[in-house]
């Protein structure tokens, strides 16, 4: 009956003043989320937006839904509790690279492993913004920040790799400056049953300005990213003149019409295949290879929250006891008259 109501993006906006810095990538993602929810037509009363701590975790205050701004790193665990207690809710987790992958790393990998039906939006700006400029688990090795004045000496996480390593079934990557495509992947994530991880590459205009510039700037974007859609060829470049092929066990970029490659040689993206091999390779692309955007993996699997309810239903089908008193009387009791 709820489908009858047409929602608009503004129905999901709260009356709170948005306090992010002017030019912050989070503004754009917020708009994409409002739009995605309107496209999905979910009643705001059935949406719960959970977050941890950090700039992006302010997002629940800007939603006209149920929202819970929690503590640093624990959003995934709290969202797991919300969804498990009431699987009918549409539950979102708003989190950043520090919140999700450093202090909250343990909860993140386990929420993904359990396949709790959460939409996890990971705002990745490769920096701690709210504490004003320290390095995060996704900061590139050698990068100079306030807490790494001589550069970091540690390897970063690649969120896709971590999500796949946690047996994730949905991973997508978007960029803050591409509203249309980011809205599209957020909508797909909301629709996906199970833990959906959406990494959004966002710019921190104050502490890490231009960190994703080489990918996101209009002049480079066509050549340095490849937007993946299930069932479509992995093409990129201004005129889709380039594409991805397999060369032995490795991915390789080719130009159609050169070195004997034709359109037929270009790989077709299969986001639904259970085999992780190609998804992992696509997720890890960077450097000389274009960064993969869009939905890299989207595989159906049983959801934790529903499995919990299913097991209860199975036990209840076998055991008629519903009240504590009856349970106690069914045990080893004796009567004193």
């Amino acid at each position: 009956m709820e489908q009858a109501i047409k929602y608009q993006a503004k129905d999901y906006k709260s009356d709170q003043y948005v306090r992010w810095c002017p030019g912050c990538g989070d503004h754009a993602v917020l708009n994409c989320i409002h739009k995605a929810m309107a496209d999905e037509g979910i009643n705001p009363k059935d949406i719960a937006v959970i977050s941890g701590i950090g700039c992006s975790s302010r997002l629940p205050y800007y939603m006209n839904s149920y929202g819970f701004h929690t503590i640093h790193g624990r959003g995934a665990a709290i969202a797991t509790g919300v969804k498990t207690a009431n699987p009918a809710l549409n539950v979102w987790l708003m989190t950043g690279d520090g919140d999700c992958l450093a202090i909250g790393g343990n909860h993140f990998i386990h929420a993904v492993r359990r396949n709790v039906d959460l939409n996890i939006v990971l705002f990745n700006n490769k920096i701690y913004g709210l504490t004003k400029g320290q390095y995060s688990p996704t900061t590139d090795k050698g990068f100079v920040t306030k807490s790494s004045p001589y550069g970091t000496v540690e390897e970063p996480f690649i969120p896709a790799e971590l999500a796949f390593g946690s047996r994730g079934n949905f991973f997508a990557r978007g960029i803050d400056v591409d509203l249309k495509n980011t809205t599209e992947i957020l909508t797909a994530a909301s629709r996906h049953k199970g833990a959906s991880v959406i990494e959004v590459l966002v710019n921190c205009v104050i502490f890490n300005d231009g960190i994703h510039k080489k990918i996101t700037d209009k002049e480079y974007r066509a050549d340095r990213t490849v937007f993946l859609r299930h069932g479509e060829k992995m093409l990129f470049g201004k005129d889709n003149e380039k594409g991805l092929v397999l060369d032995g066990f490795k991915l390789k970029t080719v130009t159609i019409g050169q070195d004997g490659y034709t359109l037929d040689d270009i790989l077709v993206h299969d986001a639904h295949t259970e085999d992780l091999t190609l998804h992992m390779m696509l997720g890890l692309m960077g450097g000389d290879m274009p960064v993969a955007l869009g939905i890299i993996r989207d595989v159906e699997a049983p959801c934790y929250d529903l499995e919990v309810e299913k097991q209860i239903a199975e036990v209840q089908a076998k055991k008629p006891i519903r009240k504590l008193h009856d349970l106690l009387m069914s045990g080893e009791v004796w009567e004193v008259k």
């Binding site: 665990a77 509790g81 207690a85 106690l328």
Partner: protein
């Protein structure tokens, strides 16, 4: 009975079953205590497991014990020292020396008191009793060989036959206490219903043990414990962890809410997770998560989503949950946090009991972060305490920390099944009940209780945002305004303080005009009560005030504490309740009795110390 056997009628007696981990002492003790409960005796039991999963056979570290205290009048504790000890091997004898009364009866299996057995228990002579300097009555029976002979007809392998020797010992104890065997046989039938031969063999060993006692002309005392007239009703044997689990289920049932438990295994609280995760027929969602923090955070999420949510842990886990408890404080969400206390600090003594987490429960968080703290007094009281924890949490929108301890968690006694209709109602403070003229906001409060109204995702018209940031008293929006923060800090404290109007007053047991008031809290109730009664028998005027509600204090606490000339606060820590009471009650200067040994109080020692105080 033979003429050499004298029958002594006793009010109470302590029996301790002790043997190797694999000797089945827990089962033997449980059957004996249930048997006694069915006959109308009061019982209190305590199991004493080794920390090791499987220690070497016959070694001192592998001794497993089960103590039961039974009597014809109210029994409060599993007893200080045993009147009767069953020692299945020399290690069991050695380990229990300090747990024996003078002239106690010790039943031993001579087949396992051979040279090699004595060596394993590090005896240096061949007379363990003399070596230990024990003055006891010994019933020495070749139990293993008699069991093997008696069970020859069943064609069991040697191992299975020998395994029945605990039932022979039980039979012997049943003879000693004049317990008819029918109920025990019935229990064995049930226990081994799928293995009829094993059931028959155990029953045969039980009967042989009983008959052996009858026939040996043993020159030891036998006992008769009079049955007590107890209130009619249905009873079961229950330990503290199970009672806690059932208390939560009862609270959820009464409140009309779903029960959610987020937890992580930790000794000695794990049984609560295990019990509740088995209660799927009742619709309980009890789940194990990746760590202690996830345990409480999932519970907070479930509470936000409208469940009666709880998490169960012990001291180290409570430390990990501190930040999340603070979130539930500022978000004003209902939450029950159960801390089954154990020996600390750090990993400390996981299987031992103490009361050292009170300050952590009261104050162990950043910021001004008041919560409700309550403590269970006995294993069966864990049910009521958990029920009250659930009730206060959802009616007052606050985290409630329920303190039990390892002693209560594993100790058991007979429990009269509760009549839930007689328990107070539980009415969650839902936003649908909001009646004020101003439009609803998440932090709008009931003017009387200062409780905010609970709105749950899915409710139409109540969408809202809450969180760990301070909020404005009126608008519920984020605020760092100084006067507002002061007001919110005061309001959160006042909300907790007002709960004093909704909890029972502090009860005083004993003499109205007592010369000494004993004050305690939590799991020491039994020992303190028994100490008080013993002192009264000695002609002293004493009273006991035992705290179950600690934050807030019951309304009459100050009046009670300042009424008596002498007050002693007795607790298994360095004085945490005493210091707390001193901070709350002006000019309160109690004596303190503190022991932190990981062991229950010893009643005789309490009596000695309290009498000294009285006479000082």
């Amino acid at each position: 009975m033979t003429e050499q056997t004298k029958v002594t009628t006793l009010e109470k007696v302590v029996v301790r079953f002790s043997g190797d981990s694999g000797d089945g002492m827990q089962l033997t003790g449980t059957i004996f205590s249930n048997l006694s409960a069915i006959l109308g005796n009061e019982i209190s039991t305590f199991p004493d497991f080794p920390a090791e999963i499987r220690a070497p056979q016959g070694s001192l570290s592998g001794v497993s014990g089960f103590q039961v205290h039974l009597g014809s009048r109210k029994i409060f504790t599993p007893g200080d020292r045993a009147d009767v000890l069953v020692a299945m091997n020399p290690a069991a004898l050695k380990v229990n020396v300090s747990h024996l009364k003078p002239h106690a009866i010790v039943i031993i299996d001579t087949d396992s008191f051979q040279k090699s057995d004595l060596d394993k228990a590090q005896f240096t002579t061949d007379d363990p009793f003399k070596e230990l300097g024990l003055d006891v009555q010994v019933v020495a029976a070749p139990i293993t060989s008699m069991v093997k002979d008696g069970l020859a007809e069943f064609g069991l392998d040697n191992k299975s036959a020998v395994r029945c020797k605990n039932m022979f010992a039980l039979g012997l104890v049943c003879w000693l206490f004049d317990r008819p065997l029918e109920e025990a046989m019935h229990m064995l039938q049930n226990k081994f219903s799928k293995k009829p031969t094993i059931a028959k063999a155990n029953i045969k060993a039980l009967t042989d043990g009983y008959n052996y006692g009858h026939n040996i002309h043993a020159s030891v005392s036998t006992y008769r414990i009079e049955s007590k007239k107890v209130a009619p009703g249905f009873f079961m044997d229950i330990n503290g962890n199970k009672a806690t689990s059932y208390g939560l289920i009862a609270a959820a049932e009464k409140a009309g809410l779903k029960l959610f438990l987020g937890s992580y295994p930790i000794t000695p609280a794990t049984d609560i997770l295990q019990e509740l995760s088995a209660r799927k027929e009742l619709g309980v969602k009890a789940l194990q998560f990746e760590d202690e923090i996830a345990g409480i955070c999932t519970a907070i999420g479930a509470s936000f989503a409208g469940s009666l949510a709880a998490t169960s842990t012990s001291g180290p886990g409570l430390a990990l949950k501190s930040e999340a408890i603070g979130l539930a404080v500022i978000a004003e969400l209902p939450l029950v946090v159960i801390d089954v206390q154990r020996g600390g600090p750090s990993t400390g003594m996981p299987t031992k009991s103490e009361q050292t987490d009170l300050m952590q429960a009261l104050y162990g968080r950043n910021g001004e972060s008041p919560v409700v703290v309550i403590a269970a007094a006995t294993p069966t009281d864990c049910f009521d305490a958990a029920y009250w924890a659930g009730k206060l949490a959802v009616e007052h929108m606050t985290p409630v920390i329920l303190l039990t301890d390892s002693f209560l968690a594993n100790g058991s006694s007979a429990w009269r099944l509760p009549d839930l209709d007689a328990y107070p109602d539980i009415k969650p403070c839902l936003s649908t009940g909001y009646k004020e003229s101003e439009p609803w906001k998440p932090y709008r409060r009931d003017p009387e209780t200062l409780v905010r109204y609970w709105a749950v995702p899915g409710m139409e018209g109540f969408a809202h945002r809450i969180g760990g940031l301070e909020k404005d008293y009126d608008t519920s929006a984020i605020s760092t305004e100084p006067y507002n923060h002061q007001k919110m800090v005061a309001t959160r404290q006042a909300k907790i303080d007002k709960i004093a109007d909704y909890i029972p007053e502090l009860e005083v047991l004993g003499d109205k005009d007592a010369d000494l008031l004993i004050v305690g809290w939590g799991g020491t109730f039994g020992h303190l009560c028994e100490a008080m009664e013993t002192m009264q028998e000695n002609g002293k005027k004493v009273a006991l005030a035992h705290f179950k509600f600690i934050s807030p204090l019951p309304k009459n606490a100050e009046k009670v504490l300042t009424k008596y000339k002498k007050v002693v606060v007795a607790e298994q820590n360095n004085g945490q309740l005493a210091n707390y009471l001193c901070s709350k009650v002006p000019c309160f200067t109690p004596y303190k009795f503190n022991r932190v040994k990981g062991q229950p109080f010893i009643v005789s020692r309490l009596v000695e110390e309290f009498t000294k105080l009285l006479e000082a």
